[in-house]
């Protein structure tokens, strides 16, 4: 995908210097710089091996762990493209994960002397309910932003505060553990040797990417981000579009919540997806999407998510205390902001 979009911009710009002007050039360079650092300092970083028919290795690990963040960043990209922001992503993650874990649960039943775990509710139903909750959250945000025309940050702040409270209320403040085997597949299963979570991300990315490229949807979103009033006058249903963008963002967050809770085999309403919205926003900005709306890149956001996860992995592997992680992240945000700033420092 990255390659194709690079090619698309390349024909008129054969010189390597012009290639640097491509919007994806900076994020890609940052990622390569990080990987280069890992190549030098972490032995065996690029080693891939097949164990039990599954691919293993640090790279796979990074991509696998980045999956929920990639999903959240996907939804966030579209929201930011319409000049909005959604800070309720973490709360939605907690809510959908909690719903799924509570409904699936898992009780031990002894069948002919063999202990077996049975789900409390059929798993498809539980997953559907969790996604339904996420969609409702998105619809709530959408109505506030598109219908009542509240500032996006305030509108989603409401759910950010209340959502985690709701999740805590559902679980009575306890961590809900799941014992039902099939549920774990979503977060830690493998399909054709590749982590299942990645297939999910790829599928969502493919569908959304096609929708944006092959229909006018991408153009509409861009135009709403650049000038909502002009877009409405030009005949775009601005409110409907914005509403669905928030619904989509919450759906992505809900899916990420399922993935996270399935991966840690429990729902922790207090900590699941904590600060995920901020990481997602960071991933989106790292990918070159402007926070002022209008200009966005799905591929960039994916690279941004990978940069964040690679950074985290590198920090852990280098033996730097994990506490430094937040400081490094802050410095990266400042650096990215500066590089995006319209104001050029006079020499």
């Amino acid at each position: 995908m990255n390659v194709s979009s690079l090619k698309a911009a390349a024909p008129n710009a054969p010189a390597p210097l012009a290639l640097l002007k491509h919007p994806l050039a900076k994020p890609l360079l940052a990622l390569f710089a990080l990987l280069l650092l890992d190549l030098v300092f972490i032995p065996g970083f690029f080693r891939l091996e097949v164990r039990d028919g599954h691919l293993y290795g640090p790279l796979i690990d990074i991509v696998n762990r980045a999956a929920p963040l990639m999903l959240a960043a996907l939804g966030m990209t579209l929201v930011i493209a319409t000049r909005g922001i959604d800070i309720s992503v973490g709360a939605v993650v907690a809510l959908s994960g909690t719903m799924a874990c509570m409904l699936v649960g898992g009780t031990m039943v002894v069948n002919n002397g063999v202990p077996e775990y049975v789900a409390n509710t059929p798993m498809p139903l539980a997953l559907a309910a969790a996604m339904g909750a996420a969609l409702l959250c998105g619809a709530w945000n959408g109505v506030l932003v598109a219908g009542l025309k509240l500032q996006p940050i305030v509108a989603t702040l409401i759910l950010m505060v209340a959502g985690r409270g709701l999740a805590q209320l559902l679980t009575d403040g306890q961590i809900v553990t799941v014992y039902y085997q099939p549920f774990f597949f979503l977060g830690s299963g493998y399909l054709l040797g590749i982590p299942f979570a990645l297939w999910v991300v790829a599928a969502v990315l493919l569908v959304v990417g096609m929708l944006l490229k092959k229909t006018a949807l991408g153009l509409f979103i861009q135009s709403v981000g650049i000038n909502p009033i002009a877009s409405r006058l030009a005949g775009i249903r601005t409110a409907t579009l914005i509403f669905f963008v928030y619904v989509f963002c919450s759906a992505c967050a809900g899916l990420a919540g399922l993935m996270i809770s399935s991966n840690i085999k429990s729902a922790d309403a207090n900590n699941a997806g904590l600060l995920l919205e901020l990481d997602a926003i960071l991933a989106v900005t790292l990918g070159g999407t402007s926070l002022a709306g209008g200009k966005f890149s799905l591929a960039g956001s994916m690279i941004g998510a990978l940069i964040i996860q690679t950074l985290t992995y590198t920090i852990y592997s280098l033996g730097v205390p994990p506490e430094v992680n937040m400081v490094v992240k802050a410095i990266v945000v400042f650096a990215v902001c500066l590089s995006q700033s319209a104001v050029k420092i006079r020499r």
Binding site: L148, L278, A330
Partner: protein, 328 residues
């Protein structure tokens, strides 16, 4: 006043209308609590609201200024935590005298905030993203100092946490008194000084403020510096309260502060509202918490849900009011 009474429609359009609603809401909450639980309406319970929320009141005053100027500061909770951490470290490890520690912490808070303000002004960045980075940075710095909680046993801090100042038969902590003083200073600065007027002007319309010849940049940097200073002072008060420094103190408090300011009737788009609203906002949040504590059977998570509901209510009311006044 007469004109307002004669035309009931203009009451809802008055700038103090949402603040009035908040005060009414506070009265209703208190009366409901008094009716439901014996002893709820005692003087000391009211004063405890101030004692338990002194730090929140101080950061809400700082946040009021930022929001009035049309910005937002997401870093205050982390700066508060960083202030407790730095204070504890300077006292316990560096063995500084307590007053020097407090001065250093306040200076750090101001510098931190002003630094973010400078980023926002000079590079024309969005306050949201800059203060977000500031939030990461301050929390990260906390953990760099120590991942463990550091106990504070300095005599001055201990005295401050145990002193009781008598007020009409009840008592408040020195921290609460300081918080009220900050509030009073905040109200004075916002209503009576050139700086205060400049903040309202910038929040109302930055372009116009610039064309009027206001020093927009300097005032903006000062506003964020003031918010950082308030957050650091909140941290000092919080360390009087908790007698410890810890990187996880005040997790999510920036949102409580924003909620308090919004519930207090300040318009989030800037330019309209009162610093005094911070007090009613903080008291409403505190009353909800006290109600839930008095009930005893409700999960404490109801606090979050009720705050979310109130935020929703106030945003919608503000929205409806502002759209109506635009039509007129």
């Amino acid at each position: 006043m007469n004109a307002i009474l004669n035309r009931p429609a203009s009451l809802t359009a008055a700038p103090y209308f949402t603040s009035l609603v908040t005060v009414l809401l506070l009265a209703v909450l208190l009366l409901a609590g008094g009716a439901a639980y014996p002893g709820f309406l005692s003087w000391q319970v009211m004063l405890n609201l101030l004692i338990d929320n002194a730090h929140l009141l101080v950061i809400a005053v700082g946040m009021s200024f930022v929001i009035l100027s049309g910005g937002i500061d997401l870093s205050v909770g982390s700066v508060l935590a960083l202030a407790t951490m730095v204070a504890a470290w300077l006292l316990n490890v560096a063995h500084w005298p307590p007053l020097a520690v407090i001065a250093a912490v306040l200076a750090m808070g101001f510098a931190f905030g002003a630094g973010m303000g400078a980023f926002i002004h000079f590079f024309q960045l969005q306050p949201f993203i800059v203060t977000l980075a500031g939030m990461f940075l301050a929390r990260g710095l906390c953990y760099l100092i120590s991942v463990e909680s550091i106990t504070i046993d300095n005599p001055l801090f201990v005295t401050m946490s145990q002193t009781q100042l008598g007020v009409l038969g009840g008592f408040i902590s020195p921290a609460a008194a300081i918080a009220l003083a900050v509030l009073a200073a905040g109200i004075y600065v916002s209503r009576r000084t050139a700086f205060g007027r400049a903040i309202y002007a910038i929040g109302g319309n930055e372009q116009s403020a610039l064309m009027m010849g206001l020093a927009v940049g300097r005032n903006k940097i000062l506003v964020y510096g003031f918010s950082g200073l308030c957050a650091a002072l909140g941290g000092v008060l919080f360390s009087f309260y908790m007698l410890s420094g810890y990187g996880q103190h005040a997790q999510g408090m920036e949102l409580d502060a924003i909620a308090a300011v919004v519930i207090g009737g300040t318009l989030l788009t800037g330019g309209c509202g009162y610093v005094a609203g911070a007090l009613s906002g903080v008291l409403v949040l505190g009353t909800i918490q006290t109600l839930i504590a008095f009930d005893g059977t409700l999960s404490s998570w109801w606090t979050k849900i009720v705050i979310g509901g109130l935020l929703f209510l106030f945003c919608v009311v503000q929205r409806l009011l502002s759209s109506r006044s635009q039509q007129q």
